[in-house]
């Protein structure tokens, strides 16, 4: 039974009917969105903006997954929890160390947030690299499942560190960035809050792109990702490069933690779900591909916003199901992702 079904499935794949089905589905979604836009452009654009802002946050986390996967082929389950813990710590620093609150002056707020980033980003970069050294490095030669299982264990440990330090309640920033309209472009009001998010995310993405494209270290990262053996033979220090990748991923996660706190509440276990969403984004864009991770994250952010903000959708109760359905559909229909190249993993 199963075998014939599988054979049938393979035949279908070969004739790429699945691709056509997938394209038709995507087309239907686009038509539906166009109809929604025609129906109520204002609302549609507002929701789109929400989706973009959320997607920008997801992008920072998704990049961490994709960087690590690209170089080690490891799904770093603990990454989402590094992000959550960094957000909680950022909350403490902002409130207890800098004493920011809703009445603080604007330079103080900007300076305080930047200094917080200057503390959390290196701190969590080191934490992430330390996790790699302690938990993953000894298992590099073990069967492939071993580090994956360890990553799951690390994820739970980090979650419980968050629980021990911050308790089971949600934490948030004081409301020091007013949620009032800053500028209006084409009828869409952009809030100060959104601007704060973009002014962290966009420079970081540019710096990362520059780093990976143009610096010596970035080149060695790409070389190790392509072919570890060949890179090692050409004198690239593989271990150092891997540590560097984890440093970068940790720093991005810390930035994402602060950006997330600007928008939402954080709990010790938020990182688990956010991590899965971000991982889905990374897979959707093509895991191992940096631009893909950003694209996937924005798309997931939009899907989530449309699902929760527009009428006639399944609604917020089903968001998780929809995101995972996208993950599964991507892996089945196009395992290499939107921008990735077909790898032996998926094919």
């Amino acid at each position: 039974m199963a075998a014939t079904a599988v054979a049938a499935l393979n035949r279908i794949r070969a004739s790429s009917v699945l691709d056509i089905v997938g394209l038709i589905l995507v087309g239907l979604v686009v038509i539906w969105l166009a109809a929604k836009f025609a129906d109520n452009p204002q609302r549609f654009l507002d929701v789109t903006l929400i989706g973009l802002t959320v997607g920008a946050t997801y992008a920072l986390i998704a990049l961490g997954y994709t960087l690590v996967y690209g170089i080690l082929q490891l799904i770093n389950f603990a990454h989402g929890d590094v992000f959550a813990l960094s957000g909680l710590v950022a909350g403490t620093i902002v409130v207890s160390v800098f004493g920011l609150d809703a009445d603080s002056s604007i330079p103080l707020i900007i300076g305080g947030l930047l200094l917080t980033l200057a503390i959390t980003m290196p701190g969590f970069a080191l934490l992430n690299a330390a996790i790699e050294r302690v938990a993953y490095k000894p298992l590099r030669n073990a069967p492939r499942l071993a580090p994956l299982i360890t990553a799951v264990g690390m994820s739970f440990i980090l979650q419980n560190v968050g629980l021990a330090l911050y308790g089971p309640s949600s934490k948030s920033f004081p409301n020091f960035i007013p949620r009032t309209d800053a500028i209006e472009i084409g009828g869409v009001a952009i809030q100060w809050n959104d601007i704060a998010v973009y002014s962290v995310v966009v420079p970081l993405l540019l710096i990362l792109t520059w780093f990976v494209r143009s610096t010596r270290q970035g080149k060695s990262m790409r070389a190790v990702a392509q072919d570890t053996d060949a890179a090692a033979m050409l004198g690239i220090d593989v271990n150092r490069t891997i540590s560097l990748t984890f440093l970068l991923a940790g720093a991005l996660a810390a930035a994402a933690g602060l950006v997330y706190m600007l928008q939402f509440n954080m709990r010790y276990d938020t990182g688990f779900e956010l991590g899965l969403i971000a991982f889905t984004a990374a897979v959707l864009g093509g895991i191992g591909n940096l631009q893909g991770a950003v694209l996937g994250a924005v798309m997931i952010g939009l899907v989530q916003a449309y699902n929760e903000g527009l009428d006639g959708t399944p609604g917020g109760d089903w968001t998780r199901t929809i995101v995972f359905a996208i993950l599964i559909a991507t892996l089945v229909f196009r395992p290499e992702g939107l921008l990735g190249e077909r790898t032996p993993e998926g094919a």
């Binding site: 199963a2 075998a3 079904a5 599988v6 499935l9 080690l72 082929q73 490891l74 799904i75 938990a135 000894p138 298992l139 590099r140 030669n141 073990a142 069967p143 492939r144 499942l145 071993a146 580090p147 994956l148 299982i149 360890t150 799951v152 264990g153 690390m154 994820s155 739970f156 440990i157 979650q159 419980n160 560190v161 629980l163 021990a164 570890t228 053996d229 090692a232 033979m233 593989v238 271990n239 688990f272 899965l276 991982f279 889905t280 897979v283 399944p314 109760d317 089903w318 998780r320 199901t321 995972f324 359905a325 993950l327 599964i328 892996l331 089945v332 395992p335 993993e345 998926g346």
Partner: protein, 394 residues
Amino acid sequence: MTSIAATLDPRRVETGKLAAIILVGVGVIYPFIVADLRDLPLIGDFIPGVRSMVYVLVVTMMALGLNVVVGYAGLLDLGYVAFYAAGAYAAGWLASLHFSQVNFHFFTTATDGLQGIHISMWVVLIAAGVFTTIVGILIGLPTLRLRGDYLAIVTLGFGEIIPQFVRNADEDGLGFNLTNGVNGISPIDTLGFGSTIFNSDQYYWTAMVLVLLTIFCCIRLRDSRLGRAWIAIREDETAAAAMGVPLMRTKTWSYAIGAFFGGVAGAFYASFKLGANPSDFFFTFSIFLLCMVILGGIGSIWGVVTAGLILGYLNIEGLANIGAKMQEAGLEFDPTKYQFGIYGVIIVAMMLFRPTGLIPERRHKIEIEEGVHDTPFYDVQTEGALTDRDPRDD
């Protein structure tokens, strides 16, 4: 028995057998002696009640099912809780008041004339297993093509979707009340014969029989042609395929059989708890089961049973008991709050320091010690070494 048993040290087999017989013997008389044991000084407070023991046995059975998937076939399944949910809801559909628009009775313990479908729980146990097997195959078919870690994330996805689905699949969410939403399905019929229904002790014995049956099946499966094919896939998928092992079919079987045990255990536990409630089905439960498999030893039946008993006990009662003792001693620490952190530490520590588990499975031990050649995690073996060749071969 076949090759694996034969190659083991005969004395070890004898000791193992003896230990198993003693354990089963104590297990059988446990409900009669539990009251006396609880009066003992010092350890008395730590003795689990019979109801807790049912839970312990149920999770042990699920861990054995997960062991078929993770341990034998080497497919990391992070969504096993989906099978538990499927089994529990299958029991809810077939033996409760839920579908009150239908009226169907079949050798049930429910009173005559009661609304809803009421099929004998014994039949439901099997039916739930079969239903869950089908769910497992449906999940498996599109995903088992993927290798290792992708599979893990997809099963994790299903493990998240199915609980959310059962939470939402009611009148509001689906337009048809399939799972009764957040309230879950309750009450579910009890096991029993005729009109006599089982009490906790009888449930406990039934759970024991189920676990023993599962152990028996696991041993026979491990030594069967299928089981050897699973282990071949676990060790080296490419080589197994080259030797003519049909990958998809073999993997799907492991998924299906693992799901079957999960479904039966889920239905049984739902009947014991008298309900299927969406709050039982969280990702953490999958990790809890995975922790048993890792702690006991991947692929090792007796290891998984041991770890299942230990962790099951800790989860239902042990940690709370230890916490109570610590608080009596003046320590402000509640281990139940950090149970998953504790499981996380166990997982990481085992993987780093004793990846073969408490009671290693011989074959798996060789894999860990000598390494396998299935897509190495990263090809540079040690710092400075350039190939994935074993240095001892040079």
